[in-house]
Symmetry: C2
Subunit: 278 residues, 2 copies
């Protein structure tokens, strides 16, 4: 191992990635923001020392977190909200859908948005769509103040330790529910059952207290610790584990991870995860 | 990061694991064999510097590699062969099935078997079953010499670079096919499409030249690079992507990853993997 490597460690296990240069290292009011040019994985974003994305595999997370609720929705979603997700990747995936009329984002840290626009063009291109409106504010307050406005709400948060902490509680899920219009669906970043089983369980319980249909989807993201991450998808209107509509042939050619078959398959829980969520 | 960490690097990306002690470091005729006691993940086996398993997550790989072909088999499998798999984990999973009358293993490196029996009791307990017969020999020759003997053959190999190299060619797949009895199914360790897409493609092609039904299954194993690995499952007798039989309730309680739903779901290919295998 020559050259410079950055390492993220959690619970006796770490991942280490070879980097060429540090493009950005800033302390915002909320967190430390770093962007690196890696040797093999494109650009990399870290917040408070935790890897948020690399160019090489962010497509998995962003396609799944947005398309699971989009296609679980029974009808045609018109209004979407992203909480967090300052890098813009969730916006980019939502903007692929001409059905959407309004795409709001509420990110607490304006400096994450600025750093993404400057150093992460692959994800920040999501901001270019004219339907996108940016709100720099606390997401937990924002949903409380926007009852009955959205068809899908996506919570693209950091881990429970950082500024995203309020996004992991029961009250937040009650407010998410109120932010929905009839037919609405939410999807929230829900961690890895290998690494944080208690967080997965807690989010599932918070969602079940507020929604009739709740399910956990897992998907493979190599640069998240344990190589996987999940989404909690919830609705009061229909079982979210099967898509309501198929991908159009044009979109099927563009997407690299999400397919209509992968939608359903991502909810098939390994035995230990099923028991965790019982 | 204090303490001692061992690191495996591939393609600008690495994983690093905190260890307490090195229990075994031996050079066999074929490879360097190391076993560590880790801080959080139990025992860990490395061959030529590449992590083969940890106690914490080997259940995923061993349950999937054995149960996919077991339940894809149209009938009742009686005779199983494991090529490689010297740690014993595949044997342990096969031995859960009372239907099996004969479980052969052909491992090229007797010193891997010896090290597993001494230092990896969690996996090497697979050798305790009286139906298991051990053959220390070259797996590619062994299958050539045992035509028409097995209902399922499991290839639990190292990567193409090591002593497992002959297990990645077309001729080997032709011999695997000849080793099967009517109804037979094979499953081979088939790498990660994130890390080694060309190997995944090559194995798929070798299998398709020899078998009527071929499919790639992916599953989450945190301590393999990219956090996932796959199996190529193939048969001449039926579509392998759905189980022929459901798990018994007793076995469903014991297994931690494989379920009848996970069987089918593991074959749902993300878009980029589907295009790789076209």
């Amino acid at each position: 191992m020559t050259g410079r490597w950055i390492t993220e460690v959690a619970n006796g296990y770490g991942q280490t990635i070879e980097v060429k240069t540090c493009l950005c290292s800033r302390q915002s009011r909320f967190q430390k923001i770093e962007v690196y040019e890696t040797v093999k994985l494109g650009r990399l974003l870290m917040l408070d020392g935790i890897i948020q994305l690399t160019d090489s595999d962010e497509f998995v997370y962003h396609e799944m977190l947005t398309n699971l609720p989009f296609y679980a929705h029974t009808g045609i979603p018109r209004r979407a909200l992203v909480i967090g997700g300052g890098d813009g990747g969730a916006l980019r995936e939502l903007a692929r859908h001409p059905e959407l009329e309004k795409i709001d984002i509420c990110e607490i840290d304006g400096e994450v948005i600025a750093a993404a626009k400057e150093f992460l063009p692959q994800t920040a291109c999501g901001y270019d769509d004219p339907r996108v409106a940016v709100h720099v504010a606390d997401g937990s307050e924002f949903v409380r103040e926007h009852a009955g406005e959205y068809d899908i709400v996506i919570v693209d948060s950091t881990d429970p330790g950082g500024p995203g902490a309020p996004l992991f509680g029961e009250e937040f899920y009650a407010n998410l529910k109120r932010a929905l219009r009839p037919g609405g669906v939410i999807a929230t970043q829900s961690e890895s059952p290998f690494l944080l089983p208690e967080v997965v369980r807690q989010l599932n319980r918070a969602a079940k207290k507020n929604f009739r249909f709740v399910a956990y989807a897992g998907f493979a993201v190599p640069t998240y610790p344990t190589g996987m991450i999940g989404a909690c998808v919830a609705s009061d209107w229909r079982d979210v584990t099967t898509p309501d509509r198929q991908l159009s042939p044009e979109l099927a050619k563009k997407l690299r991870y999400y397919t209509s078959q992968v939608h359903a398959a991502s909810f098939a829980m390994p035995g230990f995860v099923g028991r965790l969520l019982d």
